[in-house]
Symmetry: C2
Subunit: 434 residues, 2 copies
């Protein structure tokens, strides 16, 4: 019966003479007639001691049998003294990527070009173990709060943001588009009486620019909730989600965080999340300008990437947490569906984490007549929005929602420089494989 | 503070004089000077008693305040005697769909055309509450078994099934395709050392036929697992998943199942799932033909939809469960990557539930040379599969996997006649809205 690398020490403590391990050959070191093999499995690395030369190649998959023995010098405090070795799958010797190397010394393009192999690197793999925990914690927290998970179509006849930046799909004899966001569907489902919904799914933006913060296909953690008064309840909900996410990552992925320690990988304490400031837009702009002035930076007229960085630095210094919520964005910066706070401001917000926007959201206009009236001022023809408007025509509660970018949140937790590193198979303007 | 419909009775028992409820006006009945309003919220229906005429329209969203009172005749055993009523969102009077009607009397096309409103019908909404539980139980069971959740790209440069039935996407200056399945990525991630992965995501098939069992966009519950000997371990894993799914649906969705009781909505007992037969292909064909002969049906040469139905009927009669696994499919019926059992048969399987295939899967070829050799026999050029083949070139454990169609499983639990009913926003050859 196979055991995992992480369980070898306890097998050794029990005096197990016949332990079986399976995995990949991560490293081989020959010392005279003895070979020390580092074996990699899904739980980690473990040392095998073989009284012979090892004629297998790195990355070959093997099953070994032997005596589990304590050894303080071995990683994990134990090693397997091999009595039997069987190769399940030999690796070709021309390995085009150094799996057991320091991936931070390899260029991003090489890491992405060689994805099938770079994903074998323990640090790279760790990124996606953290990501899996984020999805789990996000979903669990919302379910506990009576949210229903939904799966909406990604093939739509138009965009919520007005038809720009859409990828078109040849759908039988017509064109449809890849959804930029499930927002319209989330709103429909709140109005359907589910009231509280969430979705974890791909979203698409046909933006041509290539920056360390953008992906053309990303995973959106979407939330929508009925019977709210303002964006403040959404901010509270997001704090609850993030606190849970950080708590679970700290609990389940401590080893994964360690692998990125030199990048500053860490999660805020859950208590700190609830201390994160909620700053009205004008005030946030003031803070950004003060911070910028201190550093002799340029004047800031908008919550741009520089402002996001400054506001987070301020929050860390003043509140002890690298997280801030900016709310009450002016109408001119928000889409037509943003709910007005007054004639100038809206009940909207962004969440900024470690210098980058990870969330945009807010209360939505739910009043049919008010929406109908507002549309022309945004250059949107009401006729083109008939399906959307029908949500509000037949009774829709006050509601709002937001979305968290999964890759951005992952990247910021681990200290990754580029959001593409936090996508298993990132898509950008040039990259569509593997 | 708002309470939910389901909690009104306990509020009444506590003598609550000032309860607040919010929701949609589901039904209004006037009896002299008194109005009986059925209010619908995310938890269910509840009766409001108003000492006045109600001048609000059906589907308007209201907040009411009043005394919670026990009343055996009211649904749920309690009612709210309203002292204050506030309309949050009035519904237009021209409601184009009868939300409070019997949806089974409405044609499928009307239900789908009027999706924003038909989703308000409690029975329709129930479908998606069940679906949410299926996703939750599937994910939880796999996480407990050390699986990592993955999110892979849906934009691919080719199809795993050889390039037919693909939707093409205009991706900047080139064509890419919507992924039919994450299989290639799942295999890559097993080989990366994650060993055990799952994904819940949309999959796309550009098939032109329109049947009650097909969708052009569906949600695939995908699983892939390393270090297996044969498809039998996958069948055991799927039994564990299904048993958990059925257990959780029974526990969390009993009310939802009741709403579809007349369609025979129910879930098998978890114990029964483990009793489901595993029938080798040739034997399954024999069973199908015996059943067909009994009913003077046609001779069956393949596990076609008729055979699927017959085999399930047999399993229900002989084993007490409407679930069967057929394994050892002949090579000619399976794709090039199916792992051979011998020269004729493969280590593959289908799961049949209540007369329909809900899963296809099997062990995959993991040997680079064997795969390279097999490809031309299937008319596939090895040059076109370079990325795929690279998975096996550098050490890949024996592995396999399967996918469960979410909509099919949902439809079969609830007794829905058409799989489209189990998709929030189904896409078929003609339907791309809402």
């Amino acid at each position: 019966m196979r055991i995992l690398a992480k369980d070898l020490k306890s097998a050794a403590e029990k005096g197990e003479k016949n332990a079986v391990l399976s995995g990949w050959i991560h490293r081989i070191r020959e010392l005279g007639a003895v070979s020390f093999i580092v074996l990699r499995d899904r739980s980690g690395l473990v040392q095998l001691v073989l009284d012979a030369k090892c004629d297998l190649t790195l990355e070959s998959v093997i099953t070994v049998r032997g005596e589990a023995a304590l050894n303080e010098k071995a990683p994990g405090g134990a090693e397997l003294r091999v009595t039997e070795i069987r190769c399940l799958s030999g690796a070709a010797p021309d390995l085009p990527f150094q799996v057991n190397g320091d991936v931070s010394r390899t260029g991003l393009e090489a890491v992405l070009d060689r994805r099938p192999l770079s994903l074998r690197n323990p640090a790279v793999r760790a990124i996606f173990r953290v990501q899996s925990t984020i999805i789990e914690a996000f979903s669990a927290y919302l379910r506990e709060n009576d949210f229903t998970e939904i799966k909406t179509s990604k093939l739509v006849s138009g965009g919520t943001e007005g038809g720009t930046n859409l990828f078109s799909v040849d759908y039988f004899d017509r064109k449809v588009y890849l959804a930029q966001s499930p927002q319209c569907y989330k709103q429909m489902l709140v109005a359907s009486g589910l009231e509280r919904v969430f979705e974890v799914a791909q979203a698409y933006r046909a933006e041509k620019h290539d920056t360390p913060r953008h992906l053309n296909e990303y995973v959106s953690l979407d939330v929508e909730m009925g019977f709210i008064e303002s964006e403040k309840e959404l901010i509270e909900l997001e704090k609850g989600i993030l606190a849970r996410v950080f708590e679970e990552v700290a609990r389940k992925n401590s080893g994964d965080l360690e692998l990125w320690a030199k990048n500053g990988a860490s999660v805020p304490k859950p208590e700190a999340v609830f201390n994160a400031p909620v700053i009205p837009y004008e005030e946030a702009l003031g803070i950004a300008n003060e911070e910028s002035a201190k550093k002799k930076g340029a004047r800031i007229f908008d919550i741009n990437p520089d402002a996001e960085r400054y506001i987070c630095e301020w929050a860390l210094r003043e509140r002890g947490v690298d997280l801030a919520f900016v709310n009450e964005f002016p109408r001119r910066h928000r889409p037509f569906y943003a709910y007005p706070l007054d004639s100038v401001r809206t009940m909207t917000f962004d969440a900024l984490f470690r210098g980058i926007e990870i969330t945009s959201g807010g209360r939505r206009q739910h009043d049919y007549n008010a929406q109908l009236e507002a549309l022309p001022r945004f250059g949107v023809k009401p006729e083109s929005m008939e399906d959307y408007l029908s949500i509000f025509k037949y009774g829709c509660p006050p509601h709002g929602g937001f979305a968290i970018g999964l890759e951005r949140l992952t990247a910021k937790i681990l200290g990754l420089a580029n959001v593409k590193e936090a996508s298993l198979f990132p898509r950008d303007r040039r990259r569509v494989t593997p």
